[in-house]
């Protein structure tokens, strides 16, 4: 393994380094023959699956890991092939990637930037991983994306919803398949208008960190554009477990919709508390009081139990979709694990396939070649309909699902129902949109 991290400018300094007092005698230095970090030389290639395995998002991480393992099986030609059969690109043949058998290592992000980077580094430095993927929060995704850019490997983000991941913090070596806060707002707003009317007054409770802020900003902009007013936006500390003191004033504020910009445990608790306070049984301004949760996940829905009935939200993907890709994936995931995959699992699976396919099409594991192959790539058959990996910011553009808590679920798996599949055109935005401004993709870094 050679991770001498030469950058364009760094190379010039090599002489100085060799002379440096701390440098190890050059006789030890293995000839830096590889063209990029962790170039696979043997008969196998190693991918790094970096997911939360402890802490509040452990279940989500476990589901991502299941999807990754399934993807590896399919890439190696085991199992029923899943979405390989429906994927519009036919470059992958089920013989690994470029003929090399796919192997993987796993790590625990603990949903902490530091731990996630430590884990990713060990995959790069120790295990020779050529690509890192995973994560269940935007802070972690941005931190690991930065690391991969520096180290010269590709980062395929899994669950990260903040605008910043492909906005302010975008990186040339990083790619996001998952949708973002802006898309949630754009997809939800028309549905909310149809359901609740254009004359609504919204009260936002927002998790007090960057993801919460970007989502609140996006939803506020989208709902105000169709006539809603925003009464208040209250920031809640991340560590809050009991939201009663934030929810109690809502009813007297003149608002008739409560928007909960929370995720994970925060969302489960804030929604549970809001329902406890009987908000949804009340009439305000002559209208039924409503609650909206802009970002849903299956696990949160499970944790919130009956409280989600009738509550609107958005999702990247859901197993109840009827397209061929979804059916194939649900079939092979369900056969293996006994329950349907979550949307975190689908994005993880799709990202792995997309990476493998890009390598196959580029004919090289070189990150710069992969970046080139992914930029502007149009594909279909991975469950989200026709999708574009936009070159300007490495964000996928595809349909977004608007979901609602099901009133009469038949099993524990269909607690959410699809209300509308918002077409891609409706959630697109310009790369220089103000909510995404300030970032710089930079150039791809192959490391070594």
């Amino acid at each position: 393994m050679s991770n001498s991290n030469f950058t364009r400018r760094g190379v010039l300094k090599t002489g100085a380094i060799a002379g440096g007092s701390l440098a190890v005698p050059t006789i030890f230095t293995a000839g830096s023959a590889s063209a990029f970090t962790n170039e696979p030389t043997g008969s196998s290639v190693t991918l790094g699956f970096n997911v939360p395995q402890t802490g509040p998002y452990a279940e989500e991480g476990a589901d991502e890991l299941r999807a990754y393992q399934l993807a590896v099986e399919h890439l190696n030609g085991e199992g029923d092939g899943g979405m390989l059969n429906t994927f519009s690109s036919k470059a992958l043949k089920g013989n690994g990637i470029l003929g090399k058998k796919v192997e993987y290592v796993t790590g625990d992000t603990q949903t902490k930037s530091d731990a996630a980077r430590a884990s990713a580094k060990s995959m790069i430095e120790k295990d020779g991983a050529i690509m890192i993927t995973g994560g269940s929060s935007s802070g972690v995704a941005v931190a690991v994306q930065g690391l991969c850019q520096e180290a010269g490997v590709i980062f395929m983000a899994a669950l990260t919803h903040s605008n910043d991941t492909t906005g302010k913090d975008k990186k040339a070596n990083g790619f996001r398949h998952f949708f973002n806060a802006y898309m949630s707002g754009a997809a939800l707003a028309p549905v909310l208008k149809n359901a609740y009317g254009a004359e609504r007054r919204a009260y936002h409770l927002t998790a007090d960190y960057t993801w919460g802020w970007t989502q609140q900003e996006s939803v506020q902009a989208a709902t105000e554009a169709m006539g809603w007013q925003t009464v208040n936006n209250v920031l809640t500390p991340l560590a809050t477990t009991d939201f009663s003191s934030y929810i109690a004033p809502v009813l007297n504020s003149g608002a008739d919709v409560l928007v909960l910009n929370h995720y994970g445990g925060n969302m489960v608790n804030s929604l549970t508390n809001a329902v406890q306070f009987g908000l949804r049984d009340k009439m305000v301004n002559g209208k039924q009081f409503e609650i909206v949760v802009p970002l849903y996940s299956e696990l949160m829905a499970k944790g919130a139990g009956e409280n989600i009935k009738g509550v609107y939200g958005s999702m990247n993907w859901n197993w109840q979709l009827g397209d061929e890709g979804t059916k194939a994936f649900v079939q092979s995931f369900g056969q293996k694990y006994g329950f349907p995959p979550s949307n975190a699992a689908q994005t993880s699976y799709a990202q792995t396939l997309l990476y493998a396919d890009a390598v196959e099409r580029a004919g090289s594991f070189n990150p710069c070649a992969v970046v080139e192959a992914l930029e502007g790539f149009e594909f279909d058959g991975l469950g989200n309909g026709p999708t574009l990996y936009r070159a300007e910011d490495h964000q996928c553009f595809k349909d977004v699902l608007v979901m609602k808590g099901s009133d009469n679920p038949t099993s524990e798996y269909d607690t959410l129902e699809i209300v509308e599949v918002t077409p891609r055109a409706q959630v697109e935005y310009a790369p220089d949109h103000p909510m995404f401004a300030g970032g710089d993709l930079g150039t791809c870094n192959p490391g070594a």
Binding site: T54, G55, P56, Y57, A58, E59, A62, D208, N232, V234, L235, T236, P237, A239, T241, D242, S244, S245, Y246, A248, P249, L251, N252, G265, V268, N269, T272, N273, Q276, F277, G278, D281, K282, V284, L299, K302, G303, A304, G305, E306, N307, W319, Q320, V330, Q331, G334, Q335, F339, P340, T410, S411, Y413, D414
Partner: protein
């Protein structure tokens, strides 16, 4: 006015949770002198007693319903709880509905047993060891308990609703002549408050009015002398540990309908409960209860929009600001005894 009234209610409610946890902790920490980092885990186990109990109640047998399909296209398995099968949907359903309050009966012996086992098996050997060792061993224990729960129940929060009769909210404002919809408060939270008050009252009267309590209080003040009088204070301390565990566990059981329990909820409360105990003053039961309610109420007030707009982020740090102010103005917290854990 109504905002203040609402936040006072919230504060009393939060405070009752804080006070209950701190009460149990201070029995062990402030009086037995053991730094028990596993106390949060006891709270969590209490909550999972409720989860286990409701799972037991809704144990189901499966029948295939060929008219419906599951996600793989196979016939859907329909679950019917055994209780409904045995007692009919009416009574069985009611029993399942009341699982959380009923699980108190189940939780008390379980928690007392866990408390006994912990004290006899582990803590007993650490009374004479430095606090540092106590921290390490109880923290290790907390992690182990937490991981065991995670192994069986997963990391996701598990919804455990209150009985139908206690769901939703009551309009308290109307009762005192205010407009409707002004002061609305969830019923279960009020139940929690009264439940906490009852437990706190019970613990105090137990210590105050029984011979047993008297001996324990004497033992806290001067363990050696009580031992010299020929009283087996060790056995009583074991029982106190069991009681402390039961108090923490009951706090957990009743908390489940307020927030869905998950395996790390104990850690979320751990730091806070230490702050409450110390602000209340080491070795003082009334101090812990007082501090619990005080911090709960002030925390609620700090999250009011008027105050947040005045000082942004105040609700993030209010607990710690109060702790610092109190500890600097009152050297031993609100009602602390001299010489307890001051070395």
């Amino acid at each position: 006015m109504d905002a203040i009234l609402l936040q006072t209610l919230n504060g009393l409610d939060k405070g009752s949770a804080y006070a209950l946890i701190a009460l149990g902790l201070t029995l062990i920490f402030g009086t037995l002198g053991v730094v028990n980092f596993a106390h949060g885990a006891l709270f969590m186990i209490g909550a999972f007693c409720a989860v286990t109990f409701s799972r037991l109640f809704s144990l189901s047998y499966e029948t295939l319903d060929p008219t419906k399909k599951d996600f793989l296209g196979n016939p859907l398995k329909v679950k019917t709880p055994y209780l409904e099968g045995w007692f009919g949907p009416e009574l069985g359903g009611t029993l399942i509905d009341w699982a959380v309050p009923l699980s108190i009966i189940f939780a008390i012996p379980v928690m007392i047993f866990i408390g006994f086992a912990m004290e006899r098996g582990l803590i007993k050997h650490f009374y004479k060891r430095p606090h540092a060792d106590q921290i390490l061993v109880t923290f290790g224990l907390a992690i182990v308990l937490q991981e065991v729960v995670k192994y069986f129940f997963g990391a996701n929060p598990i919804p455990t609703p209150a009985p139908m009769a206690f769901r939703g909210s009551a309009d308290l404002g109307v009762l005192i002549g205010m407009d409707p919809n002004v002061v609305i408060y969830p019923v279960w939270r009020m139940v929690y408050f009264f439940f906490a008050a009852a437990i706190i009252g019970a613990v105090f009267s137990f210590l105050q009015f029984t011979t047993f309590g008297m001996v324990v209080r004497a033992g806290m003040a001067d363990r050696e002398t009580v031992g010299l009088l020929g009283i087996n204070i060790d056995r009583r301390f074991t029982i106190m540990f069991g009681i402390a565990a039961a108090v923490a566990g009951l706090a957990g059981v009743m908390y489940t309908p307020i927030n869905s329990p998950n395996y790390h909820m104990g850690m979320d409360f751990l730091v806070l409960s230490f702050v409450v105990v110390v602000v209340g003053g080491m070795g003082s039961l009334p101090g812990a209860v007082l501090a619990g309610f005080m911090l709960g109420i002030l925390e609620s007030f700090a999250s009011m929009n008027a105050i947040k707009s005045l000082i942004p982020g105040i609700d993030q740090i209010i607990i710690y600001v109060i702790a610092i102010v109190i500890l600097l103005t009152r050297p031993r917290g609100l009602m602390g005894r001299k010489g307890v854990m001051e070395d």
